[in-house]
């Protein structure tokens, strides 16, 4: 962890969505207008050049939080600070500034590229929009970026459909790097890729981190990937952060019962085939989260207190925080 001031701070951020009564998404058929608290009072900080992993299962709000941080959607409440400067409601111009500092890499490498543009056009556009380099240098800079992500500049002439998933993801990374961002929000950037390609892209992330002063918010459900890449980990469950810790602490001594469950559920090569599953029950609907601690219906240690009182993050180690009534 870096000792310097954090580059990015998330302070008490919440994001609510109103569930519409559409035909799709059937829990939404109820008559009341319902509110999904996708992200609920989350505070995080990201150090310069730090890799913070945000882990959790589908529907826990990790992608929503990522999109809030990347400035793609507005938080319902709370504050974002970049290098100490607050950005609560972003105007169009501020939004552009934010984008110069915080960029996002998406899960689906094909869907995040314009299918009608060539790779060169995709990369040159932000260079022009943000006036990163003089016009005469745009082409050279694009070549340099392609080279940096391990693609031959000849790829510039191609279109996304002519590239493999791994190559498209490299283009997505090159496009994010055009503005020389200080923070990259990576939303499941390797989960759509095959294992052998995944390793290549993970190595690219590690290389870029050495070459550039860049911090990652790495959103993933894959704990193996997270263990490999991150300095610190934040675990999310139903919109709330339930534990944050350094990577080593989290993987060697997870404190929150949910973190323990999650680590236990990851299939591991070489583990006995008779391994018994400890986790019980299902993740509740975010539309109707349980009272008190959201995890209490599945938690083996739940007490009456957990059913009524929301636990807050408390220090449970030198750099480890858990939101659990067990640790008081």
């Amino acid at each position: 962890m870096t000792a310097t001031a954090p580059i990015l701070e998330v302070d008490d951020v919440s994001k609510n969505f109103e569930a519409s009564r559409g035909l799709l998404g059937m829990p939404l058929l109820s008559r009341k207008r319902e509110v999904v608290r996708a992200v609920s009072e989350v505070s995080l900080s990201l150090g310069q050049s730090e890799v913070l992993a945000l882990v959790g299962e589908s529907g826990c709000g990790k992608s929503t939080l990522g999109r809030v941080i990347a400035g793609l959607i507005r938080p319902t409440s709370g504050e974002l600070r970049f290098a100490g400067i607050s950005h609560t409601v972003l105007s169009a111009a501020e939004r552009r500034d934010w984008a110069r500092n915080v960029q996002m890499i998406f899960q689906n490498p094909y869907a995040s590229l314009n299918a009608r543009q060539t790779i060169r056009e995709i990369i040159e556009e932000p260079l022009r929009v943000h006036r990163i380099v003089p016009k005469s240098d745009i082409a050279a800079r694009a070549d340099e970026l392609l080279d940096q992500v391990g693609l031959d500049p000849s790829f510039g002439k191609r279109q996304p459909h002519q590239l493999s998933g791994g190559q498209c993801q490299r283009v997505g990374i090159a496009r994010a790097l055009t503005v020389v961002p200080r923070v990259l929000v990576c939303d499941e950037p390797v989960s759509a890729l095959d294992v052998s390609i995944q390793a290549q892209v993970l190595n690219l992330f590690a290389d870029l981190r050495e070459e550039l002063t860049i911090a990652y918010l790495f959103i993933s459900h894959d704990l193996g990937v997270v263990e490999r890449l991150s300095d610190r980990v934040a675990v999310m469950y139903l919109g709330r952060i339930v534990e944050t810790a350094t990577r080593d602490d989290l993987f060697s001594s997870p404190k929150h019962p949910y973190t323990q469950t999650l680590l236990d559920a990851v299939p591991k090569i070489g583990r006995s085939r008779a391994h018994s599953v400890k986790v019980s029950g299902e993740r509740p609907s975010p539309l109707d989260p349980p009272s008190g601690c959201h995890f209490h219906p599945r938690c083996p240690h739940a007490t009456d207190r957990c059913r009524v009182e929301i636990p807050h993050l408390k220090a449970v180690g030198s750099n480890q925080f858990a939101a659990c009534h067990l640790y008081e």
Binding site: S58, A199, R271, R273, S276, V277, E282
Partner: protein
């Protein structure tokens, strides 16, 4: 558990014997060999993991066994001998009698398997009614029991639910229950837990393990995830570009991979190398189906390739079920034979 297989007497014969299976697709730009000469056997009660990356042909092997290949695809060559009968070229009517009764399949996406307009109970009893005469009350009871065994809480209520009212994990449990309803001797499961959360996946794997001990059903578990099959399967088949490149027991393959591809695949799993600064990576990417590669199909990405590899390697049987398709198998001298995996 009594053996309901009609050929219980010939137990020494494997349940399924696939020989020289080739499935081709005719496209405008030529013939794509999605499955290219695949041989393997599945024993009674055995769980075999069929592992490969996208485009390796693993799904097509499953589809070919069940005769689910539609034009422009066709089984160009080979035999699929199941319980003593060759399924290739069997009339559709007979295949239908087999599917869902002797061999069933579980697909990756339960929402495309289940009908959105029918309650779970009706869909399930239909599966029974398609193959055997059973009083409705008994059929429903059988469905309820199976849902319960797969860890579905209050199965009675779920029988009245529509698929959209269930979570992804519950839907996949329903699909697995449906596949087991007629006590098939073989279930082909195609990435059944890939779309699920890890905690749900762990639960389902546990339930499948229990059920298979109870019923003795054989499984072909098709997946890209070596960690998942390592917790479930007895034996592994590793596929690359339409061919099986390595096979053997889970323990031997995971501890002593011989094919450079298998080795590369295992090395590139992040948790296998937590300390290495960079992950060992396989260069390049898998050839798109339809691209002809002379000799060994892994040659362009292989660090050990020589001129010998311009010839086609055969799947060489080394001992027992262990086989590798490589001229330069990577016998590891540093890591002696590891027996300790149990």
């Amino acid at each position: 558990m009594q053996d309901l297989s009609p050929i219980a007497a010939t137990h020494r014969e494997p349940l399924l014997k696939v020989r020289g299976l080739s499935t081709h697709f005719t496209t405008v730009s030529g013939t794509v060999q999605a499955v290219d000469g695949v041989d393997f056997e599945i024993g009674h009660g055995e769980v075999v993991g069929l592992v490969g990356e996208s485009g390796s042909g693993k799904t097509m092997v499953g589809f070919s066994i069940l005769g689910l290949i539609d034009p422009p695809g066709r089984i160009a060559a080979g035999k699929v001998v199941f319980e003593g009968n060759d399924l290739v070229g069997l009339p559709e009517r007979e295949l239908r009698g087999l599917r869902g009764r002797r061999i069933s399949m579980v697909f990756q996406d339960p929402l495309t398997t289940l009908s959105p307009t029918m309650r779970i109970g009706r869909q399930m009893t239909n599966v029974i009614a398609a193959h055997q005469a059973m009083p409705m009350a008994d059929a429903r009871q059988h469905c309820r029991d199976l849902l319960g065994k797969l860890g579905i809480p209050s199965p009675d209520e779920r029988m009245h639910a529509y698929p959209h009212q269930l979570s992804g994990g519950m839907r996949q449990r329903v699909c697995i229950a449906m596949a087991m309803l007629n006590r098939p001797s073989l279930i082909i499961a195609d990435e059944p837990t890939t779309a699920l959360d890890v905690t749900t996946q762990a639960q389902i794997l546990g339930e499948v393990r229990k059920l298979r001990e109870e019923t003795g059903t054989s499984f072909i578990w098709v997946t890209h995830d070596l960690a998942v099959v390592s917790e479930l399967a007895d034996r592994l088949l590793v596929m690359y570009a339409g061919q099986i490149v390595e096979q053997g027991s889970v323990e031997t393959i995971l501890n002593r991979p011989l094919h450079p591809y298998t080795k590369g695949l295992l090395d590139s799993i992040p948790t296998n190398n937590p300390d290495a600064k960079r992950l060992p990576q396989i260069p390049g990417s898998a050839p798109p189906p339809g691209i002809g590669i002379e000799g060994c199909k892994f040659r362009p990405r292989c660090g050990f390739a020589t001129d010998t590899c311009l010839d086609k390697p055969d799947l060489k049987i080394l001992e027992g079920t262990r086989a590798v398709r490589c001229f330069h198998p990577q016998y590891d001298v540093e890591h002696p034979l590891t027996e300790a995996m149990s």
